[in-house]
């Protein structure tokens, strides 16, 4: 009857308006990877589906609330119909068919998003509480391995991230690239990304990893191949230069192992004590005693962090690192320079 026709038209209208509105709202961030293409396509299909599903239920519901509300003075009951088996079969089998089709499309879609380029550059990624460590392929000329807390990528080339964690589960995510993958201690997981838009992005950890999870964010720079090469060469030069001195080696180790997530070098109090002016200063411990922060103390603090804890920092346990004696000495040498 007439009600059905009106509802039918309204459903179509609401679906279309809702879809257009959601589409215009630009809900997704800028798409900056090849992987974003199939993902955004499927997202669009989902937005259409959500619009239609919403309309199919909400329209008849609100229509009924208006048209079939009890009028003043009317004391009769509603229409007595208990069911309709054909309708039940229809609205069970048609959705069943539709969801299976969707799942099939989803599987295709996943395969599109995970397509691998065999010539992809491999960058090793390690998640550390609370920083990122990116290890680039060694420089063909000098053999120097660049390890940075920034991810630089040349546009248009696929990168294969081979990832693990040194402590707890983390997750690699750049919203503009869409794809996400957890970093699991003890195993390697992989993520392939083909950046398609130059720009400055950020990688954020997307799996709760402790106190500073919110701040485990580092830059991702997508540039032309030439700009990338310039950057890379500069990193090689800096690495080589720093590796020549103990303090420099220390500085490299510090930047590669996320120490800055807890220890500032500018005096700011963070999760851990600041290193600015630390060497040689007097430090109060939680047991009330005061010690001098000399080589022995700092070395012990890195090797066995729980033995002596600085006062007011007892809530956070420093992680056990596996540095060699030489590495620790280099870090201490670097800390010495921070006056």
């Amino acid at each position: 009857m007439r009600n059905f026709v009106v509802v039918g038209i309204l459903i179509i209208l609401v679906s279309i308006l809702l879809y257009l509105g959601l589409d215009a709202a630009e809900l997704m961030p800028v798409a900056a990877s090849a992987q974003a293409t199939p993902i955004d396509w499927m997202w669009n299909v989902q937005v259409a589906a959500m619009s239609i599903l919403f309309a199919i239920i909400a329209v008849p519901m609100f229509y009924s609330l208006v048209v079939f509300r009890r009028r003043k003075g009317d004391t009769s009951d509603g229409m007595h119909f208990e069911g309709n088996t054909n309708l039940e079969i229809a609205w069970s089998t048609i959705p069943l068919f539709i969801v299976v089709v969707f799942a099939y499309l989803g599987a295709q879609n996943l395969s599109d998003a995970l397509r691998r380029d065999p010539s992809a550059t491999v960058v090793k990624v390690t998640g550390i509480q609370w920083s990122w460590r990116f290890e680039y392929p060694s420089d063909p000329e000098t053999g120097v391995v660049v390890i940075s807390d920034e991810l630089h990528l040349p546009v248009g080339k696929q990168v294969l991230l081979r990832m693990t964690s040194s402590d707890v589960i983390h997750s690699f995510w750049v919203p503009e690239f869409r794809v996400k993958q957890d970093l699991v201690p003890g195993r390697f997981t992989e993520l392939t990304i083909t950046p398609t838009k130059e720009g400055d992005y950020k990688v954020s950890c997307a799996e709760l990893c402790g106190t500073s999870h919110a701040f485990m964010v580092k830059p991702v720079v997508v540039s032309t191949q030439e700009e990338f090469d310039v950057w890379f060469k500069e990193q090689v030069r800096i690495s080589a230069e720093l590796a020549a001195t103990p303090e420099g080696k220390g500085q490299l180790l510090v930047s590669q192992n996320g120490c800055a997530a807890c220890h500032s070098i500018n005096g700011a109090v963070g999760i851990g004590p600041t290193w600015l002016g630390l060497f040689g200063s007097d430090v109060e411990l939680t047991d009330g005693t005061t010690v001098t922060a000399d080589e022995t103390f700092i070395t012990e603090s890195i090797r066995d962090p729980q033995v002596k804890i600085v006062a007011r920092f007892e809530t956070q346990k420093m992680v056990q690192y596996t540095f060699t004696d030489e590495e620790i000495a280099a870090i201490v040498a670097y800390i010495k320079t921070l006056k």
Binding site: I39, T75, N84, S92, S171, V217
Partner: protein, 693 residues
């Protein structure tokens, strides 16, 4: 409620709380020589003393008061016992960061839970039976409010105990949310900063603890609320005089109280930073509060399992004459489906938490890669329960919607059989979708595809419900008093939750959506639509049955119209910022993202929701003694509980009834659902349900 005990209770709460705080501060000073004003010891003492004194002032040394006192004693004795054993074995350190070592805390907490059950009195009859003595089958309850604070075997009292405890946990969990929402209202840390200290945690650590507890307290409150409605309604809906096992019923309720105490203790024992999901390796290195969390959830799980067992036994064996399967009230089908899940799946979360506890206590490396373990295994075990758990959360509420619509639309529930079967269908399919929470976890890449298929399948029985509800509304004579408003709101909100599910099911899209506020918006929609709104609907609906009075209709509508738009704006806002890059579980966010305005709006919405719930509480407590009298068939329902006077008789139906017709034959003149054995069946009239506004 008589004002005197309540006033005394609050007086005792503050005085004992202050005394406890002082004692705790002093004890801490004796041990550490530091006056730790914001520390855990002072707060733990204050909380324990305060709460116990509250109940003591209210009620004296019995029931819950005795339970709590015994819990504290049991915890201390157990902890000292382990401390002594470890000292004798030469283990070091003998003590820990929060006085006791972790093994002592865990054993103490467990001993405390068991002591509570003995202290509150639920074990009394069983102990007597074990010793060869008999006890009366029924225990007469004290008249008045006092029966709610002791062991009662009456399912209606237990149902109300569950419901009120659930409302209490919602308040605590909600308050935690208001605290961290206040912090999130603007980017950059405002008050939960690195230098802030409370309970031995810095601001960001406290953020993680509050956020994690918000999740778990709300989840436990849902489980208790679900048990509350089911326990309250199912026996009288099927015509039984009580549940099959009243003492086990009481036990299942009372065990949830010490479980809640443990969860709250986790906050003051260093907190925990893992979210409610407790993934190792993070959870294997968290402070001892993590263990309180694990043990608290493990204990609450007993409540779920035993309660479910009772429901199934009751429905299978204690139905009224003539109540065949297809003449059960639809809510009972929902209760059965829920109980099947709770009975069989809950063990898995207990197991997964237990394995992490053993990893921490005994060094067993189940999830430790350096010992040959696998962190992803935890996720499989955990989500094998936690996905079906969400159907435990929503199936009863969806059953409430189906139960209430016919009453307020005056026509049959459309497709009763299909709706009944859809509850079972959702329960069944719900068991094979768990890994859709793990699409980015590092599990086998291809394994994601079958889980995508199975996840999409859940949409089919869920769709059956939605279509049936719409068909029930169609052609009706619709009235919208408060219970109906919440039922309709539930449908709308659950619809939003339901349609935002498929994008998550599509694996590639989920790679973007996972661990963002999109998911947070999605599950708040499904939870509010499937539980919170129907929970309120059920309370407003059955309040007259329990008390013989109505809740105020005007304020009920204010509750609804304040909560609903605020909530919708909250979840739309969450989904919007989630898509654009707002991650979950972060104490702070980058100002460059431009989310400041959105977050401010979300915080305001959160406070508006809290205000609406406050209005509800005032209405609820005020109406118990002062509400408009409503001793008859207030809603003009065909269901048997409304055909006997309110409040309900302790054993429900002094005169039994027989089922002679369909439950939802509204609109069929002369049709009857039940007939009472004395021939005096109240006439079901067709008339307007008064809405009084």
């Amino acid at each position: 409620m008589n004002n005197n005990p309540l006033r005394k209770a609050f007086l005792f709460l503050f005085v004992a709380g202050a005394v406890g705080y002082g004692l705790g501060l002093g004890t801490d000073f004796l041990v550490t020589s530091i006056l730790n004003f914001s520390g855990s010891v002072a707060s733990a003492f204050a909380l324990l003393f305060g709460f116990t004194a509250f109940f003591f002032g209210l009620y004296g040394y019995r029931g819950i008061t005795r339970g709590l006192v015994w819990q504290v004693a049991g915890t201390l004795i157990g902890a000292f016992l382990i401390t002594g054993i470890r000292a004798a074995l030469g283990a070091t350190p003998i003590f820990g960061a929060f006085f006791f070592s972790e093994p002592a805390w865990v054993f103490g907490a467990l001993a405390g839970v068991l002591s509570f059950t003995f202290g509150v009195g639920i074990m009394d009859d069983w102990v007597k039976w074990a010793r060869g003595f008999d006890t009366p089958e029924y225990h007469e309850d004290e008249p008045g409010w006092e029966k709610y604070f002791s062991v009662s075997l009456d399912h209606k009292v237990i149902g109300i105990q569950y419901t009120v405890t659930a409302l209490f946990l919602i308040t605590v969990g909600g308050t935690f949310a208001l605290i961290f929402r206040a912090e999130l209202a603007a980017s950059q840390l405002q008050f939960l900063t690195t230098t802030f200290r409370l309970f031995n945690q810095t601001g960001p650590q406290l953020y993680n603890s509050l956020m994690s507890l918000h999740g778990m307290l709300m989840i436990i409150s849902i489980l208790l609320g679900v048990s509350g409605i089911i326990n309250y309604a199912v026996p009288f809906l099927v015509g039984a005089h009580d549940m099959a096992f009243p003492r086990m019923n009481a036990f299942a309720y009372w065990v949830a109280v010490p479980a809640s105490v443990l969860l709250l203790m986790s906050l003051v024992l260093g907190g925990f930073d893992t979210g409610w999901t407790g993934y190792p390796p993070l959870s294997s290195r968290a402070p001892v509060g993590m263990q309180m969390f694990f043990l608290g959830v493990f204990t609450a799980g007993w409540s779920s399992i035993l309660g479910a067992l009772n429901v199934i036994a009751t429905v299978l064996r204690m139905r009224a004459k003539g109540m065949t399967a297809m003449r059960l009230p639809i809510f009972v089908w929902a209760g059965i489906a829920t109980s099947i899940i709770a009975l069989t799946a809950t063990q898995l979360i207990g197991l997964s938490f237990q394995l992490v506890m053993f990893q921490r206590l005994f060094g067993m490396g189940f999830f430790d890669a350096t010992k040959g373990g696998n962190p992803v295994l935890f996720q499989h075990l955990f989500w094998f329960y936690s996905h079906p758990a969400v159907y435990v959360f929503v199936l009863p509420g969806l059953g409430i919607i189906s139960e209430l619509l016919p009453v307020f639309v005056r026509k049959p529930l459309f497709g009763y059989r299909w709706i009944a079967m859809s509850s079972l269908g959702i329960a069944l399919v719900g068991f094979v979708v768990w890994a859709h929470h793990m699409f980015t976890s590092g599990m086998n890449e291809y394994l994601r595809v079958p889980f995508m298929y199975s996840t999409m399948l859940v949409a089919v029985p869920t769709g059956v419900k939605f279509f049936s509800w719409v068909a029930t509304l169609w052609g009706g004579k619709i009235e919208t008093p408060t219970p109906m408003l919440f039922a309709l709101g539930a449908i709308f909100v659950f619809l939003l939750g339901g349609i935002t599910g498929p994008p998550n099911a599509m694996v590639a899209v989920d790679l973007h959506l996972h661990d963002t506020y999109w998911v947070v918006g999605h599950f708040h929609d499904t939870i509010f639509g499937g539980f919170v709104f129907p929970f309120f609907a059920a309370i407003y609906f059955w309040f007259p049955k329990a008390t013989g009075r109505r809740m105020n209709e005007f304020w009920g509508k204010v509750h609804f119209w304040l909560m609903t738009p605020s909530f919708l704006m909250l979840t739309f806002g969450m989904m919007f910022i989630g898509l654009r890059g707002m991650r979950r579980r972060i104490a702070d966010y980058d100002p460059a993202l431009g989310f400041d305005n959105a977050h401010l709006i979300l915080t305001i919405c959160g406070f508006a929701i809290a205000l609406s719930v406050l209005i509800f509480f005032i209405n609820f407590f005020y109406s118990i003694k002062n509400g408009e009298k409503a001793e008859g068939n207030v809603w003009n329902s065909r269901s048997p509980e409304w055909l006997v006077p309110s409040p309900m008789h302790p054993h429900n139906y002094p005169v039994p009834f027989e089922v002679v017709g369909e439950p939802y034959d509204y609109g069929l003149p002369g049709s009857k659902y039940v007939e009472f054995a004395n021939g005096k069946t109240p006439k079901h009239e067709t008339k307007r349900v008064g809405t009084h506004s």
